[in-house]
């Protein structure tokens, strides 16, 4: 026990103790780990949705894409909120409170992202992937330049009072997750639409993610810089998409 109570620096801790202390200090650690896992998932699946429209594996792929994309790109934006929830809860409820928050936060985001991906899947056969890509990029650029986006950025930083016990504690955390997600959707929906349109390019999505992080954590996110990043992402995605979609078209014609 004495080891747990000692001051850091006074004792050389073993790796287990150090990990445990890290977990005490940063109860949000596993949310960050989940987001990192999401990026690994995105790296593995970023090419897979091209050419599967309408098939059973295509539906599964889209569902997986929604889950992985929201986990990877949205969780890092909510880390401060997750930390607030954990530190404002009883010690034994810290991780339960985080889970309740994530149910609200991810639940709403996944619904929204499912709508975005469904729209992409419906539009792509009708107007072509290039048009969808251009539309997604244009939507993101327009939203980045709009004053409404800037006006709403700070709402994602809001903290709220949480009931300490029982179902009210859980529902408060979940409700806080939903309100945080609402603020986040208002500012990020267009970037997530662009991500869905560019999702065959991991580099393009990483650029979009950079714009999101900048908006969340920078003092004065520059709309012009964001626009430039989104346009670069769109262009990259277009260049990288051409051979991919060409192969997918060839494969589909071969099946037909």
């Amino acid at each position: 026990m004495a080891e747990n109570l000692a001051t850091p620096g006074a004792t050389r801790y073993g790796i287990r103790t150090r990990l445990r202390r890290f977990g005490w200090r940063y109860p949000e650690w596993w949310v960050v780990a989940a987001a990192a896992a999401g990026w690994v998932g995105m790296a593995l699946t970023s090419h897979s949705h091209t050419g599967h429209t309408g098939t059973e594996s295509g539906h599964l792929g889209c569902a997986l894409e929604v889950v992985v994309m929201v986990t990877a790109m949205m969780l890092p934006l909510a880390v401060a909120n997750v930390r607030h929830v954990a530190l404002s809860s009883f010690w034994r409820r810290r991780h339960r409170a985080i889970v309740a928050f994530l149910v609200g936060f991810l639940g709403l985001w996944m619904l929204v992202q499912a709508g975005i991906v469904l729209t992409r899947e419906l539009l792509t056969p009708l107007v072509g992937w290039v048009t969808v890509l251009v539309a997604g990029t244009a939507a993101a650029v327009s939203w980045e330049l709009s004053p409404i986006k800037r006006r709403r950025l700070r709402r994602g930083h809001r903290t709220v009072a949480l009931a300490p016990r029982g179902w009210r504690a859980d529902s408060d955390c979940a409700r806080y997750g939903v309100t945080t997600a609402l603020a986040c959707v208002t500012t990020c929906w267009a970037l997530m639409a662009a991500s869905a349109a560019l999702s065959h390019s991991l580099v393009a999505m990483a650029l979009i993610f950079g714009v999101q992080l900048n908006g969340r954590y920078q003092r004065r996110p520059s709309p012009l810089l964001a626009t430039l990043a989104v346009l670069t992402a769109g262009l990259l995605s277009l260049v990288m998409g051409l051979p991919l979609h060409h192969h997918a078209d060839v494969a589909l014609r071969g099946v037909g």
Binding site: M1, L5, W24, F90, P147, R151, R154, H157, A161, A163
Partner: protein, 477 residues
């Protein structure tokens, strides 16, 4: 290197000492300038705050760095230091342009010296109708711009200007949302974190007690005394460091390398926090005429520190890398009224790493947190927070159970979701270890239940407000 003087020392010799009179002339000149001039009075005040709903960002002057005051954050002190530096340069140039000396320096209003109770009055030049030359006095703010009694020479209350809690702090910042001297570690922050101890009292108290313009982020800089008040807060940072005993500025790069730009155009100033830690060095080049702690305050700080010593395991240092553990919180938000308002907190057993000792072990430290205070209309400018006052008793009779004060400075702005504010409101935390020790010694400490009382600290007329406290919580460390 310029010397910033105590305005009351200057005033006692001559209420219109040249430093003060030139300040009045410069303020009058700056007030003549348009709001888009980065050296104009309205522009200077808007850097601290402006209501985006009243003046949309699209109408701001090009490149304006408005509405950027850093509060509830470890950037509170360095941001305001850079802001004052910019202001002082503007006034110094203006004084020189008007034919005055070219070495003018901003005086400070030290209202906390118990040996000189009159310093709690607004300095006389700020209350006069006219300057010695017979011109209207630009330092006087009338009507709704200031509480009338302050202009009539009423003293700030002794509690408003108390330095005991702030000077007793031993750390600039801490983990887990518990306030220390300089505020919590945050990113760019206009509101949302726990309020630092110095920022609460005396800083917030003086703002709301002078009232009017001084009572809100968006208007505070319009009152010429704002700048002298903040010069004193800046001085108190030096006083705190001068106490030593391990008191030191943060060493994290996230703090040291943060930069702030004040103003725009040729006069703009961009400085990192690390550039402004030694005030005698360029670019600041100033010092305060007095950075010592008055003897009675020093004694009070020692008494506060003794009372707040760890309740248990004193031989073991506090684990600074683990955030305090919440052990109880109120269930509902509560409206703050014109009469004392009570909140009950059910306290649970601690279960975190600080309590991996024997069952029933005592905490080292106890903190009370008052979270998410929101509202648009104030019933009172300040509330006293007491713990475990017997039901029906007058809390103000129980000075030894005073946990802290909740000045409402910035409550309107921080409750308003807009460009710069998330709408979280104000959050305070108080070290109540000393209060708990006294209650325990008299057998009145109930480890399972805490009663917290909010008492309006205002002699004025009753007003109907809408301010509420989101939650009251108890933390052990």
């Amino acid at each position: 290197v310029h010397e910033r003087h105590d305005i009351w020392e200057l005033s006692e010799a001559d209420p219109w000492d040249p430093t003060i009179e030139w300040y009045a002339r410069a303020v009058a000149a700056l007030q003549e300038k348009g709001f888009s001039d980065p050296t104009g009075w309205r522009y200077l005040a808007a850097i601290h705050g402006t209501d985006d709903n009243e003046l949309p960002r699209s109408l701001w002057p090009r490149g304006a760095t408005w509405d950027e005051c850093q509060h509830f954050s470890w950037f509170f002190l360095p941001w305001h230091r850079i802001y004052l530096h910019y202001f002082e340069q503007v006034v110094r140039r203006t004084v020189a342009d008007l034919g005055g000396p070219d070495d003018w320096a901003l005086p400070y209003w030290d209202y906390s010296d118990p040996n000189r109770p009159d310093v709690r009055k607004l300095p006389p030049a700020f209350r006069e109708q006219r300057t010695p030359s017979g011109d209207p006095n630009s330092l006087l703010v009338e009507r709704t711009g200031r509480v009338p009694s302050v202009n009539e020479g009423a003293k700030l209350w002794r509690r408003d200007v108390s330095l005991d809690a702030a000077m007793a702090e031993q750390f600039f910042t801490g983990p887990g949302g518990i306030a220390e001297f300089g505020g919590p570690a945050t990113g760019w922050n206009h509101a949302g974190g726990t309020i630092g101890t110095l920022e609460g009292t005396p800083h917030g108290n003086v703002h709301v007690r002078v009232g009017g313009f001084m009572g809100g982020f968006d208007t505070a800089g319009l009152d010429p005394v704002f700048w002298l008040h903040h010069a004193n807060i800046d001085r108190l940072w030096e006083v705190w460091l001068g106490q030593q005993g391990g008191r030191a500025n943060p060493t994290q790069n996230g703090w040291l390398n943060a930069w702030f730009k004040i103003g725009s155009g040729a006069s703009a100033v961009t400085l990192r926090v690390r550039d402004v830690l030694d005030t005698r060095q360029p670019p600041l080049e100033y010092f305060y005429s007095n950075v010592s702690l008055p003897e009675p305050v020093r004694d009070a700080v020692i008494a506060t520190l003794d009372a707040a010593a760890p309740l248990s395991r004193e031989e073991e240092p506090m684990p600074r890398d683990i955030s305090p553990e919440m052990v109880g919180a109120s269930e509902e938000s509560v409206a703050l009224a014109a009469t004392p308002t009570e909140v009950e907190v059910e306290v649970g057993a601690p279960a975190g790493p600080a309590f991996f000792g024997d069952a029933g072990d005592q905490p080292r430290k106890v903190y009370l947190k008052v979270e998410n205070i929101v509202g648009t209309e104030l019933t009172a400018p300040n509330y006293l927070v007491h713990v475990d006052v017997p039901p029906g008793e007058d809390p103000t009779e129980y000075e030894d159970r005073l946990a802290g004060q909740v000045p409402m400075f910035g409550v309107r702005e921080s409750s308003r979701p807009d460009d710069e504010h998330g709408g979280s409101g104000l959050t305070f935390s108080f070290d109540i270890t000393g209060v708990v020790r006294r209650l325990r010694d008299t057998g009145e400490w109930d480890p399972e239940r805490l009663r917290v009382t909010f008492t309006p600290d205002d002699a004025g007329e009753e007003k109907e407000g809408d301010v509420s406290v989101g939650r009251v919580s108890l933390f052990y460390a």
